[in-house]
Structures are given as structure tokens and as C-alpha cells.
């Protein structure tokens, strides 16, 4: 055909043919140039590939590996908390939640509607579900309902096959089976908050949602928490786990056994019922805390997954302050309970003697002063030696003694009993109380110390403040002739899955030097007569007791009276009533328990606080299981 065309164009054939020749050559030259350009471009491409694959290999290999392998934390299971006899105080309970995997559900709204036939789903639940759904990949389970009740789980479980993509998931949730029991000891866990994130090693908490907030849960957080484990998992681009490459199992937290005797704790709680206040019972031989009560109490369980605002407000704004741990944070004037220690200080410093008497006319006046420091007994106690001063709680004797001791010596002696400084109990937030001294007053009030202030310090009033724990601790110290131990709640730890317990040793404090053993015995004997003696302020609780107790009552003024006023409970608001205090240890000859009781606005120590203490002592010493 082409030939035919050429024949038709005969006249131009020759020139055309030559042109064609030239055109062909031109084309070939261009084709070669094109081929060179192609080769150049491909070589440049190869250079680029070599740059990526050889020069930057390590960089991209790392990126690829990071793409592929993800580190997943494996949170450890939290250790449980028991009392000293193995009564469970803090448990991990499986908690059930309902999850929906959106990509497996065709009609979400219809599914939600049908689920409502089986369980209760609030509008808030649905709102949260949709919010979470937008933020998470559609193959991951989105929670719809938390804390399903047992009957809801049961009803759903049988019908679950009607709901593809709907699942019931279980995880472990902290639960306090005894509720408010010992709540001020055990404390509670809650969701980790912003401030805690700053404090904790976040890697240890990756995968954990809860942390000890208060109580033993907080102070032994590290023991209970355990160590986080990790697994290297291969994931695809959507984050779905394909397989586990390497696994470092978590180390579960240790179980904790508390020194608390749950039975005694319950009895103490019941004994104090009706009062705001605190009871601390220690074993003077080793510092073990046998019971630690602060009343009122609250249920820690709602705190675990976030308490609702209204309930929290109710707890927080209550005038009774249930969240406040009075046993170690409540500071009270020790009142007369301090008298045995003042007496001991007088004996040990040689300022007074076991036989020296002071005449008590019902008041005390500093030489050259008009002010009368009144005795609680209007008519006075008459001639009063030290033992009678303790038994009848004579104020005048101790005004006199305090004046003779001076505030410096008084301070230094009481300081050895951990008054005015934390006892070091293994709970967070213990208050130091206040043991006043001229230096302290100068530093905080920029005022000189007045002699009258020494007198009222002598009867445990004025600036002096102590926590119930400090009172129990100082009483235990007295019971042990100056041998004392840091109060301690940790009894033993136990690895999960093991039967062996690691016993916690006592934590001795430097013993208080004893000048004369007889001085200590004299004070203890006087305290025994407080309960068992004629005229003892707490003689009523000594009746019918099969063991001997040594104790001291106290009444702390909340409301100070003018010189000429008479205390009349009936006329005063309940909140202005005196605090009733009582400290004791028993058996007096071989002490096994030391106790401090404070009943706020309870009136007198002898009428209110002492009988409460007797119930606890009886329970501990007589009803041993």
C-alpha cells in the first residue's frame, strides 16, 4: 500500500526519498538521545533507591520495626489486704462491663434499643459510648455499661448469641468487703490523677488505672502494686494485635497482713458508736497497732471508680467530717491524761518526790499574781501527794509541779514520748501535735513565754495538742518503762500464690533513760488506782474486772470559761461540750495493750471514754478466740 502511495507521487519521489533518509537519520539521533535520557533517569532512580536502601538502611529499618512492634504493658494484680488473723479487708473483684465492637455490629442504634430490653442503659451511658466510639478504632471494644449486676450478667449471657459484636468483659476492681470497717486504716484506691502522675514512675503504672489514695493502700502502694510486665506484640497498621513476640510477665503485688485485729477493731468501732472521736490500741511490746478507729466512718467502695459529686460533697461538707482521720490527724488538748507523764518528769528530774505533798485549796496562784488557776474540784483536794494527785486528777498539784519543772524541762521530757512530733506510724498524713516551748512561741507568735502558760501545760491544756495515736503511744511507752517502738500497721507481707509470710520486725525507738525504776512503778501504781482504787476517777470501770488496768482520765476543754463561770453541760451546745479522754494499758503488771480513747464532746473522761476503753480491753484480754 505504501509503495502504491509512493508511485502516485512519482514526480517528488527522488527528493522525497532523500528527505525520508534524512528524516530517518534525524529520528535515529533523537531516539538515541531519548535512550540516553531514559538511561540517565533510570540511573538517577537507582541512585535514589540505593540512597534509601543502603545509605539510610538503618534508619528505615528502625522505623519499620517501630511500626511493627508495639510494647504493651501488662499491669500486675494488686496485693490483697488482710488483718493479722487473715480476715480479708481489701479484695480484687471481677467487675463486668458490656462492650460493643462497632465494626461487628451492623445497626448500632437498633442493637442499643434491643439491649435495653435486658439491662438498664441510661442516656449518659449512650452518650459516653458514642463519645468513646468516635475516639477509638472501630475494631476495639467500646464500653457501654460498667459494673453490671449479677442478674444483668446472667440475663445477658444467655442472650449474647443474639448480639454479635457485643461482649461482657471482666476486669479486677478493688473492693472493700467490710465497707466502712477500718476504713481509716485500709484507705482506698482511686483513679490516678494528674498530681499523682507527676509523682509516680509512670512506666510502672502503664496499664494500671488505680493507685492507693489514702491509708495503707497509699503508704504500702509500692508493695501492693507489684511490678508491671510487658509484651512485645506485632500489630498491623490498624493496631490490631497479630501475635505476641516476647513476654515479660508482671510481678504481682504482695498481700499485706495488718497488725489490726479486725474483731477488736469492730468492737472498738461499736463501742465508740454515737460519738465522733478516735480509739487507738497498741501492743506496747512491739508497737503493733491492734485497732485504730476514727469515727464517723464512710464506705470507701464508691471512691474506687470515682464517687459522684453529690455524694462527695455530702461527705466533705458534713460537720462531722467523716473523711477526716481523727486517730492520726485530729489534735486534741491531752488534758489530764498528760498528768502521769508530768508526774514522772517531776520524779525523774528530782523536782518532787513520791512522798511530797501539796495543799490543794481548789485553786493555785503564782506568787505575786492575782489570777487563780482553778482546780476542777471546787473545794480542793486538801493535802495531796503525787499518787493522790493522779488518782483524783488534782490540778493544783500539777500547776505547782509544772511551775517547779519549768516549761523547758517539761518540754524536753515529754518530747521523748513522741509528743509534739510524729510517731512515725506507717500511714501518710500523721500530724505532729504540739508540745509548746518558749522557742516555739517566739518563732510562731513572736511573743515571750508567760509563766501561767507553763501551769496550764502542766494539766495538758493551753497550747499543748496531741493526736490520739500519740496518746496511745506515750501510754505504751510508760507501760514499757521507756522501751518503745514505732507504731506499725504492717504485720507481714506475702507473695501472691505463696503460703509463706515475711514477718515485719518491730521498729524500736531509742529507749527513754530510766533514772529510778521506782519512779516509773510509782506512776503505774497510781494509774492502777485510778481504776481500781477508792476515789479513782475511773473506778467505775474497774468493778468486776478480772485483770488490773492502769489508766488516766482526761477532759479537754473546747470552750473556755471565764473566771467566775460554772461549766454547765445542759446550757452548752453539744459542739461546745468537753472532749472525753481516757488512756490505759493492761494488764498493769505485764502490759499487752495500751489504749487511748477520745470521744469528742463526750463530756467527762471517766463517764464516757473510760467505759469505751474497758469494752475494748475486755475484748482483747478476755474474749481471745
Amino acid at each position: 500500500m505504501r509503495l502504491l502511495d509512493l508511485n502516485n507521487a512519482k514526480p517528488r519521489q527522488l527528493t522525497k526519498a532523500r528527505d525520508l533518509q534524512i528524516e530517518a537519520q534525524l529520528f535515529s539521533r533523537r531516539a538515541i538521545i531519548a535512550l540516553i535520557l531514559v538511561l540517565g533517569a533510570l540511573l538517577a532512580l537507582l541512585g535514589r533507591l540505593a540512597y534509601l536502601q543502603v545509605i539510610n538502611y538503618a534508619h528505615f529499618a528502625t522505623l519499620s520495626e517501630n511500626n511493627r512492634v508495639k510494647l504493651q504493658p501488662l499491669p500486675p494484680s494488686r496485693g490483697l489486704i488482710f488483718d493479722r488473723n487473715g480476715v480479708l479487708l481489701a479484695d480484687n473483684l471481677p467487675s463486668y462491663r458490656l462492650e460493643i465492637i462497632p465494626e461487628q455490629v451492623t445497626a448500632i442504634d437498633a442493637t442499643l434499643a434491643r439491649l435495653q430490653e435486658f439491662i438498664e442503659i441510661s442516656d449518659l451511658d449512650i452518650e459516653r459510648f458514642h463519645r468513646l466510639r468516635r475516639r477509638n478504632p472501630s475494631y476495639s471494644g467500646i464500653p457501654l455499661r460498667f459494673r453490671l449486676r449479677a442478674n444483668e450478667v446472667a440475663r445477658l449471657a444467655v442472650n449474647l448469641h443474639h448480639f454479635p459484636g457485643v461482649d461482657i468483659k471482666a476486669d479486677l476492681n478493688r473492693h472493700y468487703p467490710l465497707g466502712a470497717h477500718a476504713v481509716h486504716v485500709v484507705g482506698y484506691v482511686g483513679r490516678i490523677d494528674e498530681e499523682e502522675l507527676q509523682r509516680i514512675d509512670t512506666s510502672q503504672y502503664s496499664g494500671s488505672t488505680h493507685i492507693g489514695k489514702i491509708g495503707v493502700e497509699r503508704s504500702y502502694e509500692e508493695v501492693l502494686h507489684g511490678r508491671v510486665g510487658y509484651q512485645h506484640v506485632e500489630t498491623n497498621a490498624q493496631g490490631r494485635v497479630l501475635r505476641v513476640l516476647k513476654r515479660t510477665p508482671p510481678v504481682p503485688g504482695k498481700h499485706i497482713y495488718l497488725t489490726i485485729d479486725s474483731r477488736l477493731q469492730a468492737i472498738a468501732e461499736r463501742a465508740l458508736e454515737g460519738y465522733n472521736g478516735a480509739i487507738v490500741a497498741l501492743d506496747p511490746r512491739n508497737g503493733e497497732v491492734l485497732a485504730l478507729v476514727s469515727q464517723p466512718v464512710y464506705d470507701p467502695n464508691p471512691f474506687v471508680n470515682g464517687i459522684d459529686v453529690a455524694s462527695y460533697q455530702a461527705l466533705n461538707s458534713s460537720l462531722d467530717r467523716p473523711l477526716f482521720n481523727r486517730a492520726l490527724r485530729g489534735v486534741y488538748p491531752p488534758g489530764s491524761t498528760i498528768k502521769p507523764l508530768i508526774g514522772l518528769a517531776g520524779l525523774e528530774y528530782g523536782v518532787t518526790s513520791r512522798t511530797r505533798s501539796v495543799y490543794c485549796p481548789g485553786f493555785y496562784q503564782l506568787p505575786g499574781h492575782k489570777h487563780r488557776f482553778r482546780d476542777w474540784k471546787r473545794g480542793g483536794h486538801g493535802r495531796t501527794p503525787l499518787d493522790k494527785a493522779i488518782v483524783e486528777s488534782c490540778d493544783v498539784y500539777f500547776y505547782d509541779l509544772a511551775a517547779k519543772l519549768g516549761i523547758e524541762r517539761l518540754h524536753d521530757y515529754l518530747d521523748q514520748f513522741s509528743l509534739g512530733r510524729p510517731t512515725g506510724i506507717d500511714l501518710v498524713g500523721e500530724k505532729a501535735g504540739l508540745l509548746p516551748s518558749p522557742q516555739w512561741k517566739r518563732a510562731t507568735h513572736n511573743q515571750p513565754w508567760y509563766p501561767g502558760e507553763t501551769l496550764i501545760a502542766g494539766i495538758g491544756q493551753g497550747y499543748m495538742l496531741a493526736t490520739p495515736l500519740q496518746l496511745a503511744h506515750s501510754t505504751a511507752t510508760l507501760a514499757q518503762n521507756g522501751q518503745h517502738f514505732q507504731p506499725r500497721l504492717l504485720y507481714a507481707t506475702q507473695e501472691q500464690g505463696s503460703q509463706d509470710k515475711q514477718w515485719e520486725p518491730p521498729r524500736p525507738l531509742p529507749a527513754i533513760p530510766v533514772k529510778d525504776q521506782g519512779n516509773w512503778e510509782h506512776i503505774v501504781a497510781s494509774m492502777t488506782r485510778v481504776i481500781h482504787g477508792v476515789g479513782g476517777t475511773a473506778r467505775r470501770i474497774g468493778q468486776g474486772s478480772s485483770y488490773t488496768m492502769a489508766g488516766k482520765t482526761g477532759t479537754a476543754q473546747v470552750f473556755s470559761l471565764r473566771q467566775d463561770q460554772k461549766y454547765d453541760a445542759k446550757q452548752l451546745d453539744k459542739r461546745l461540750h468537753d472532749h472525753a479522754l481516757f488512756v490505759a494499758f493492761a494488764p498493769a503488771d505485764a502490759p499487752r495493750i495500751a489504749i487511748a480513747v477520745i470521744a469528742e464532746h463526750g463530756g467527762g473522761g471517766s463517764t464516757t471514754a473510760a467505759p469505751i476503753a474497758r469494752q475494748v480491753l475486755d475484748a482483747y484480754l478476755l474474749d481471745a478466740p
Binding site: 534525524l26 529520528f27 531519548a34 531514559v38 538511561l39 538502611y57 528505615f60 519499620s64
Partner: protein, 380 residues
């Protein structure tokens, strides 16, 4: 269609001992055929991996390849003269179809590339990849070469009309190929260097002016993201970042067949289609890439050789343009996947999963084979 096969069927030596002879009789070029088969085979091997061992996927691609080779075989039988005679009609028909697609798109309110013919869906822009170089070659057959300025205007029209219609679809990748095919035809026709340099110079001057005066801010931003997708790591940049990781982590020897984590674990998007080159790079490393690029280069070189052996202007220009379009295909895809060029949706020829462009490419090779087997030896 009247095929040479039917004309020569009686003279075929059916008992021929030599397969080579048979292939010759079928107007097939053995080097091209071997090169195509090699690449197609490599393509199936890597597709098996990129498609996560989906045999159905592999089968469908196998069928497409078979169809492609059939189209090639058929077109190899069509003498170039017939093609030349039909060229204006093919071109005109193609342009009309492009208009039809646009109109259908307007009505359907959305981007439209397909023309649904009931049984099959047809993409007219694919046709233009061949129709434009055909038209250019056809035009220059009746013109003295090298082309003059007037020819340039006609050539520009032949290229720009389909180019703009395809850009409007919008299908930038195909439009780019169509534009390239026109430019290559002009270049191969012998457009003088003065004009080439002049046009280049004009572009250098106009482009910045257009940039500063002729564009809105958002348009500029769009162009910038297009040129440097990594500034948008969650959008357009994600593909490129993952693709570079796939290539780079392949290293010199590759991670091995089926062991490419980037592709197997779905970090690499479009791993079976536009980004299959990255899968190849990840699993077979630089060594595998050298082999693949060599094969591609061989196909291009052989095609250009065929063009130089062609016996007239039409076949020469057409064959040369087809060879260079094939190169652009390879280069744009590999350049895009390796982060050298902006992201333009073009498949890797003969390897990417997908049918339409495969058929076009095989049609191009069919034409090349026809050009070679229907040349008149001794003409030169």
C-alpha cells in the same frame, strides 16, 4: 478486522520444527515478548505477596494479563497502514467519548472516568494514550520534517484538547501521560533544539509569574503539598512516608518474599496497586530492583530500536512515542513511590493490580510488534 494471520494461514508451516518461526509468523517480537513475560511473571510473584496470598486476586490478575497478551497478539497482526488510515477517526471518536464522559459526570454529579457500556466499563482516557501519539504521527506523515512553528501549533492542539478534557475528569496521571505522548512525538519528529530551549525558557519565566500572580493562596498550598507530601504526614504524606520506610527497610538483599512487614501488616497503603513497587523493594531489596529496572530498560531500549527500524514516518513516530510513554509510566510510578516525584496515581506497568492500563500497555506493545514485523527490510 482483516488480519494478516488469515492471509498467511495457508503458508503457515504447521509442522515447523522451530517455535521461533511460529512466533515470527504470529508477528511477535521474541525479545519484547520474553521481556514482557519476565516482568509479568515477576509481577504475579510480588502480587501474591502484596495481595496477602489471595489466590483469587492472583487469578483475576492472571486473566487480565492473558487478556492483555491476547490484545497484543491481535494488534500485532494489524498492519500499521490500517492503523494510519483509521487514526483520525480513532482520535476523533476518543475526543467525543471524553466529552461524553464529562457530560455523564456532570449529570451524575461526581468525578467520572468510566463510560458504562452495559457489559464492560470503558475508560476513554486510556484510549487517548495511544490515540494521541497516533494522531501526531499521522499529522507529521504528511508534513516535511523537522516540524516548523506552524506544526507546533497543530501538535499542541492535538495534545491539549484531550489533555484538558482528561484533567477535567480529573485524572492527572493519565492527562500527564497524554501530554507526554504529544511532546515525545514532537521531540522525535525532530523539533529543533532552538524551539525546545525556547519553550523551556518560557516555562521558566512564566511559571514563577503564574505562581505569584495567577494563583490563590489555597491553590499554592495545594501545589506545595502536592510537591512535598511529607508536610502532611497524616494525609497525602502518609503514603510516601510508609512507602519510603518499606523501600529503605528492604536494604540491599530485601526482607525476603512474603516477609515484608510494611506490606504484610498493612502499613503500606495501596500495596497491591499503585505502591506495589515498594513491596517489591521491601522484599527483594536493591538487588531485585536492579533486575526489575534492567528488564524495564530492556523493553524501552528494544522498543526504541524497533522505532528506528520502522519504514515510514508514521510507524517510526508512533513506535518511538509508545516506547517513551512506557518509560514515563515506569518512571513516574517508581519516582512517586520512592519519594522522588509528587504523588500521581499511576500504576507500575505490568505489575500493579488492575486492568485498564494493563490492556492499553499491551496494546501499545502489540502495535510495536506489528511495526517491527511489518517493516520493509532493505528499505533503508
Amino acid at each position: 478486522m482483516k488480519l494478516n494471520l488469515t492471509a498467511d494461514i495457508n503458508s503457515l508451516d504447521w509442522k515447523g520444527r522451530n517455535r521461533r518461526r511460529l512466533l515470527r509468523r504470529l508477528n511477535l517480537d521474541i525479545p519484547l515478548l520474553l521481556g514482557l513475560l519476565a516482568i509479568a511473571l515477576l509481577g504475579l510473584v510480588i502480587l501474591y505477596s502484596a495481595g496477602r496470598q489471595d489466590l483469587d486476586l492472583l487469578l483475576r490478575q492472571g486473566i487480565r494479563l492473558g487478556l492483555g497478551f491476547l490484545v497484543m497478539l491481535v494488534l500485532a497482526q494489524v498492519p500499521p497502514n490500517y492503523l494510519r488510515l483509521w487514526t483520525p477517526w480513532i482520535f476523533l471518536g476518543g475526543v467525543l467519548l471524553l466529552v461524553a464522559v464529562l457530560v455523564a459526570g456532570e449529570i451524575g454529579k461526581g468525578a467520572q472516568r468510566w463510560l458504562d457500556l452495559g457489559v464492560v466499563r470503558f475508560q476513554p482516557s486510556e484510549l487517548m494514550k495511544i490515540a494521541v501519539p497516533m494522531m501526531m504521527a499521522w499529522y507529521f506523515t504528511s508534513r516535511p520534517l523537522p516540524p516548523q512553528l506552524g506544526d507546533l501549533v497543530i501538535g499542541a492542539l492535538i495534545t491539549l484538547i484531550p489533555f484538558l478534557l482528561i484533567v477535567k475528569q480529573p485524572d492527572l496521571g493519565t492527562a500527564l501521560l497524554v501530554a507526554c505522548s504529544g511532546i515525545f512525538a514532537l521531540f522525535l519528529a525532530g523539533l529543533s533544539w532552538k524551539i525546545i530551549l525556547g519553550l523551556g525558557g518560557m516555562t521558566v519565566i512564566i511559571a514563577p509569574l503564574f505562581w505569584t500572580l495567577g494563583m490563590h493562596d489555597y491553590q499554592r498550598q495545594r501545589v506545595l503539598t502536592f510537591l512535598d507530601p511529607e508536610t502532611d504526614p497524616l494525609g497525602a504524606g502518609y503514603h510516601i512516608i510508609q512507602s519510603k520506610i518499606a523501600i529503605g527497610s528492604g536494604g540491599f538483599y530485601g526482607k525476603g518474599w512474603l516477609n515484608g512487614t510494611q506490606s504484610q501488616l498493612e502499613f503500606l497503603p495501596e500495596s497491591a496497586t499503585d505502591f506495589i513497587f515498594a513491596v517489591f523493594a521491601e522484599e527483594f531489596g536493591l538487588i531485585g530492583l536492579c533486575l526489575l529496572l534492567t528488564l524495564y530498560f530492556f523493553l524501552i531500549a528494544r522498543s526504541l530500536y524497533i522505532a528506528t527500524q520502522a519504514s515510514d514516518v508514521y510507524t517510526r513516530l508512533l513506535a518511538g512515542s509508545l516506547a517513551l510513554i512506557f518509560f514515563v509510566y515506569v518512571f513516574v510510578n517508581t519516582g512517586m513511590v520512592s519519594g522522588l516525584l509528587p504523588v500521581v496515581g499511576l500504576p507500575l506497568p505490568l505489575i500493579s493490580y488492575g486492568g485498564t492500563s494493563l490492556i492499553t500497555i499491551m496494546a501499545g506493545f502489540g502495535i510495536l510488534m506489528s511495526v517491527y514485523s511489518h517493516r520493509r527490510p532493505g528499505f533503508r
